[in-house]
């Protein structure tokens, strides 16, 4: 038996939103859920709103029912696309065994956190009775520290002492204050190495793209530094797939100097990173200091890096401190290229992930996509909605717009244990 249900609430009151989603999920399923994925927009932050959502849900389901999830930028389901509200994907099945794990300190020590989480899961997993395994994860995404006296997070600093100090301050803030880089690469690399079997899909928690703070949910608890994993083993069909919205670069360069835990590119081919970047796109060298809303402007001109397994990843510039370029995810090798994407390329990712029959045959879908894609597409996200509606053909699905997404597919399993952390991609798990 396998049933899946998706529900959203647009209620502004957190407790009422929780009540609404759980009531509808219980109505859709013929019994209590086996697990629930719960995602909320940042609007509920005030007055302990996230806790109230979880409290309202647990009032109607047993306290032992696993819930994982967190704050995200938006979500899309058969009811539309929303940047405010609560979204739930729930499964009821007697053919799925669920384990969960949660470990703290991602920004302070991602390797140790991943090891702890993996250890908990490997202790309990039953790989003899079940052939398939899916690990759905959420981890803290990047936040931007606010410099005292400044109204907005420090994204652009043209010159002077602030530009020189910013990368160092970012490291200190990340490790000591839990505000800064997401450190997902280090976390997921370690996790992928420790968990030898199983497909992976997930994303980083985020807010409304202001990068102020983000949270993770684990049962009825709310955290801001936790790696949370829901581990499903089953003999039901499970498949994961990812599609990038970025075209491959035609020319590659060498990163000759990086800093900020390899999140900040200082020099490319011995020249300033910003000069090489702007030259590659034929932009004025000072343009990043002149435009409004930097993230939205340069999303179409992403950097492409290559991970240690040879897989290309788009990285949207996140900060410009002096002549450096900061990115949300760690740079693993020194190869870098410059690519392009467009709203049309982003919309096409839907066709790419659904282009196999066994994916189209799945009974339900959980998808993760970069929050930057949502920000960029704006109301044109409804083009994505229409395409997914057509492909899913009435089956329950939830697409979460998170602060970066990750995946491991069966193909990558054969060559490596890497969990690939992406930006500007659509990743998907078909379940059932």
């Amino acid at each position: 038996m396998f049933e899946a249900a998706v529900e959203i609430s647009r209620e502004w009151d957190a407790y009422t939103a929780g009540q609404e989603v759980v009531a509808s999920i219980l109505k859709q399923l013929n019994g209590e859920p086996t697990f629930m994925l719960v995602y909320a927009s940042t609007h509920y932050k005030k007055n302990g709103g996230f806790q109230k959502i979880l409290d309202a849900i647990y009032k109607k389901i047993p306290s032992t029912t696993p819930i994982t999830g967190g704050t995200v930028t938006g979500f899309l389901c058969s009811k539309g696309c929303f940047t405010r509200g609560v979204a739930v994907f729930a499964v009821r099945s007697d053919e799925i065994q669920v384990n969960t794990s949660c470990a703290h300190g991602v920004r302070r020590n991602p390797v140790r956190t991943a090891e702890k989480c993996a250890e908990n899961l490997e202790k309990n997993v039953d790989l003899k009775s079940f052939q398939n395994r899916l690990l759905i994860n959420i981890e803290p995404g990047p936040t931007m520290p606010v410099v005292p006296g400044m109204k907005h997070p420090l994204i652009v600093a043209k010159s002077g002492i602030l530009a020189k100090l910013a990368p160092k301050l970012l490291i200190l803030s990340t490790i000591l204050l839990n505000k800064g880089m997401g450190r997902e690469n280090e976390l997921l690399d370690t996790f992928g190495n420790r968990i030898k079997n199983g497909l992976v899909v997930g994303g980083s928690s985020s807010d409304d793209n202001k990068y102020s703070d983000n949270y993770q949910f684990y049962f009825n608890k709310v955290f801001d530094d936790a790696f949370v994993v829901l581990d499903c083993t089953t003999n039901l069909n499970i498949i994961t797939k990812a599609a990038s919205a970025v075209r491959s670069p035609t020319e590659w360069f060498n990163i000759s100097k990086a800093s900020g835990l390899r999140h900040v590119i200082v020099k490319i081919a011995e020249k300033s990173a910003l000069d090489i970047y702007t030259k590659a796109y034929r932009l004025k060298s000072d343009i990043v200091f002149e435009v409004r809303n930097v993230h939205r402007c340069f999303v179409f001109a992403p950097l492409v890096t290559i991970d240690k397994f040879g897989v290309q990843h788009a990285r949207v510039p996140g900060t410009f401190y002096g002549k450096t370029i900061g990115v949300g995810h760690q740079i693993q090798t020194n190869s870098i290229g410059f690519a392009s994407t467009s709203a049309a390329d982003m919309i096409k990712t839907v066709e790419k992930v659904f282009d196999e029959e066994n994916i189209r045959n799945s009974k339900s879908y959980v998808m993760f996509s970069c929050a930057v894609m949502l920000e960029t597409l704006g109301d044109k996200v409804y083009n994505v909605f229409e395409k997914i509606q057509k492909q899913t053909n009435g089956k329950p699905y939830l697409l979460v717009f998170s602060g970066g997404e990750n995946y491991r597919t069966s193909e990558t399993l054969t060559i490596s244990t890497s969990v690939h952390l992406t930006e500007l991609s659509l990743t998907m798990a078909g379940i059932g």
Binding site: D208, N293, E375, G378
Partner: protein, 122 residues
């Protein structure tokens, strides 16, 4: 128009932190809005918009055969989003801060537009 129901949609949109002012406007008619809930510091921006609203509809009418459904313009510290209700001389208008995450607000503007269209029976 079901003004009370439409006003509820506007009020819901106005609860977004970065929607500073919002209105459903129709050519030749007073717009539907709740000015008491506006968060605009510079009221002149809104007054200028209201005074020129009919001129916008003249432009929209000229582009009606080309699928025009949105107009954006930047007014210093503010951006104005003008979402046209297709096939009608009506638009959902909002003012947001220039540095707001416009794409995310567009999603909620689109949802509001869809809700209004439903209320209008489309």
């Amino acid at each position: 128009m079901n003004d009370t129901e439409i006003l509820k949609v506007i009020e819901d949109l106005m609860r977004e932190e970065d929607i500073l002012a919002a209105m459903v406007s129709r050519k030749g008619f007073e717009g539907i809005s709740d000015p008491a809930k506006f968060k605009l510091n510079n009221v002149q921006v809104w007054t200028a918009l209201q005074n020129t609203m009919d001129d916008f509809f003249d432009i929209i009418a000229k582009f009606s055969g080309t699928g025009l459904d949105k107009i954006y313009f930047e007014l210093g510290e503010y951006d104005v989003l003008f979402f046209v209700l297709p096939g009608r001389d009506t638009a959902l208008v909002s003012v947001i801060p220039a540095l707001a995450n416009r794409g995310l607000l567009e999603v909620e503007m689109e949802n509001a537009r869809r809700d209004i269209l439903k209320l209008l029976g489309d």
